[in-house]
């Protein structure tokens, strides 16, 4: 099938895009990399009067360090994040996870902002931004607001974004000494959406876990923070037995969906296996059976 007709604007200034959004609201749709939106349009799953193409707004495409914050412009492509030395150094979890996002021709177009705004429960980036406790900057013609990842994701394909708002920036705390990271997922083939994926940050201070952050994709209606596992791990000395208990706690606390890719029970088992694996690897207890 082909998309329903629409009018098209490709502003090259952020303010112009925000003006268009203010005027058209929910009659308009924002086009970033198009790697999720255009398939939906081709299947006529949506219809709107105006498509606002933000690909010419170069001021939304950047990666920079600002004190203790890594700032990523919403229009930054997955591929550019993958290749960025700044991301590798200051947000190694992002660098590791983004390599699992789709295939190269998709990663060169798809953007981090599009991925977060789309909020596919199987997507890697929302889970990573949640695990890192990132902040998203949403802007409309009347101003900008900062929303924490925990409040941004609101369920299946749904976020805190209002129809007149654009996601403009993703802010991530830079990695601190002692923090270790790991991401792993299970998918049918490299580049496919994860069936389940888990990202972890473990902060080791004097042989104890001072802080643990775990988040998963594929086990809920959106990205899921695994707080039960985190609570079990914090202040403890990392051991294989401890991570096995944390994995069981994480699996017991989630409510995965059954769909054509996997049933709920299988997802729960994958989650337990992945929590254990990334936890052990982040804590330096295993070299990590890296799939590949």
């Amino acid at each position: 099938m082909k998309p329903a007709p629409f009018n098209y604007r490709a502003p090259d200034k952020l303010t112009e895009a925000l003006d268009l959004l203010a005027t058209y609201g929910s009659d308009a749709k924002v086009l970033a990399g198009g790697q999720s939106l255009v398939p939906a349009m081709n299947f006529r799953l949506n219809r709107f009067a105006l498509l606002i193409d933000i690909n010419r707004i170069r001021e939304l495409e950047y990666i920079r360090i600002d004190g203790q914050v890594l700032r990523i412009g919403a229009l930054t492509r997955h591929r550019d994040i993958e290749m960025s030395p700044l991301v590798r150094e200051h947000a190694p979890l992002v660098a590791e996870a983004v390599r699992h996002v789709a295939h190269l021709p998709i990663r060169t177009r798809g953007t981090i902002g599009g991925s977060l705004s789309h909020a596919d429960p199987a997507a890697e980036s929302p889970a990573i931004v949640l695990a890192l406790d990132g902040t998203l900057v949403l802007q409309s013609r009347t101003g900008a607001r900062s929303v924490r990842a925990t409040e941004f994701f609101q369920g299946m394909f749904s976020t805190a974004l209002q129809p007149n708002e654009l996601l403009v920036e993703i802010q991530l705390p830079v990695a601190q000494p002692g923090q270790r990271f790991a991401f792993e997922e299970v998918s049918r083939r490299r580049g496919d959406f994860a069936i389940v994926g888990v990202g972890a940050m473990v902060n080791l201070q004097h042989g104890r876990i001072s802080q643990a952050r775990f988040a998963a994709c594929g086990v809920g209606t959106g990205p899921v923070r695994l707080r039960a596992a985190e609570q079990l791990l914090e202040q403890q000395v990392p051991t294989a037995a401890l991570f096995a208990r944390a994995a069981a706690a994480a699996a017991a606390a989630v409510d995965p969906q059954t769909d054509i890719h996997a049933d709920a029970e299988y997802r729960r088992r994958l989650l337990a296996g992945l929590v254990e694996r990334v936890g052990m690897r982040a804590a330096g207890l295993s070299e990590g059976a890296k799939r590949d």
Binding site: N7, Q35, V38, M41, F43, P105, T108, R189, R190, D292
Partner: protein
């Protein structure tokens, strides 16, 4: 009534100017407006890779881009890559290794392989498998495709190794 847009695009090195409806997919623009039917269309959802082209030198799905978006850009299709000889050797290797049967996936496979070798001049076996998973083939079972790309990569490495000293002495 939707507004029409005038676009100027460099396709395979030649400047073309057309008027398009915003909903015109780049894949349909290439095939139907320009007659470049080497770009195949399988799924229109980004999965099969048959429609892969180079946009400003990087592989992209032409079924997920609107023609109106490529105003001012450079598009290279399988026709351009073939005619310039850039993928001649890959094509020969596909033939040698029986990497095609019906041929429907082949234009996309060649563009994906070309792009992969541009990004990774000496890929590992796993990188070749991962990279080539960006396109689907319903006939061959992939073995010949992987062999063809592996041989192309190996020859490239050999060619670069031999060329290096010559290049260095001429500097």
């Amino acid at each position: 009534m939707t507004e029409l847009h005038k676009i100027r695009v460099e396709v395979n090195g030649a400047l073309v100017e057309r008027t398009v409806e915003p909903r015109r997919l780049l894949s349909d623009f290439l095939r139907e407006d320009l007659g470049l039917t080497g770009t195949h269309v399988g799924c229109e959802q980004g999965i099969c890779g048959a429609c892969t082209i180079l946009l400003n030198g990087r592989a992209a799905r032409s079924c997920l881009i609107f023609a109106v978006q490529v105003d001012g850009a450079k598009v290279m299709t399988i026709e351009g890559l073939s005619n310039s000889g850039a993928v001649r050797h890959l094509q020969d290797l596909f033939s040698k290794h029986r990497a095609l049967q019906c041929g429907y996936c082949t234009p996309g496979m060649i563009v994906v392989a070309y792009d992969l070798l541009q990004h990774l001049p000496s890929p590992t076996a796993q990188e070749i498998r991962d990279g080539m998973s960006a396109a689907l083939c319903r006939c061959t079972g992939y073995v010949g495709i992987i062999e063809a790309v592996t041989e192309a990569a190996r020859e490239r490495v050999a060619a670069v190794d031999c060329a290096t000293p010559v290049h260095m002495t001429s500097d």
